[in-house]
Symmetry: C2
Subunit: 130 residues, 2 copies
């Protein structure tokens, strides 16, 4: 059975969620969405390609910022409805300049929110000032 | 601003995806969906609670199998539309008896699929024979 026979792309949107994890640190970097074409392109090129739901656009991670992701492994879950991609990340995965998009945690003590990692790049250095 | 003001539950389903990661190993165990009530219950009890889309039912992870997850950290991403929960996992996260639901990977050489970890529990030992 081929890979694509074992994956469930959403019947309406044609998308499947992908968790992106930095292989050497184990840090979860981001979650993004793939359609079949972006998964095929990811496998063919070894660089992550996604589908932007907000922009309705196919894109390669890092195409503007240079912060590309080299694919090291592609796994999928028991239900075939989520993908886990291990990568080597150049620069910051997050458009806000953090290594990971998950840079905020719930504060266990008071239920507030805390920043848990340092910003490594100023966003305006990457994308230019808005 | 409260946690809930920073999260985007889907406008139609009321759900937000949650990545579950084993804190001590960094292994991504599963992805599941939460509504606001299940997130509140997760925070209040320190055990993961989800919303089952297939069964349309609120459930505590491990309520049948005993394979519960103790919450160590709850983070969320820059867009506020994905949650990352660090846990301590009792037993197997996957209902197929694997530690992680992501036990299959794409074989880089031939594009086929390979099993990447050992089954640690026979599913029928957990849920009874079907």
């Amino acid at each position: 059975m081929s890979l694509y026979d074992q994956l469930k792309f959403d019947a309406v949107s044609g998308l499947i969620p992908a968790i992106i994890q930095e292989q050497n640190s184990g840090r979860v970097l981001m979650m993004a969405w793939l359609n079949r074409a972006s998964l095929e392109k990811t496998i063919a090129t070894g660089k992550t390609h996604f589908w932007s739901r907000s922009r309705q656009k196919f894109w390669m991670k890092g195409e503007t910022s240079g912060h590309t992701q080299s694919v090291k492994d592609i796994a999928f879950d028991c239900d075939g409805d989520t993908i886990l991609i291990q990568v080597e990340q150049i620069g910051a995965a997050c458009h806000e300049g953090y290594k990971s998009c998950f840079f905020r945690s719930v504060h266990q003590g008071n239920g507030g929110v805390k920043i848990t990692e340092a910003q490594i790049i100023a966003p305006e250095q990457v994308y230019g000032k808005k």
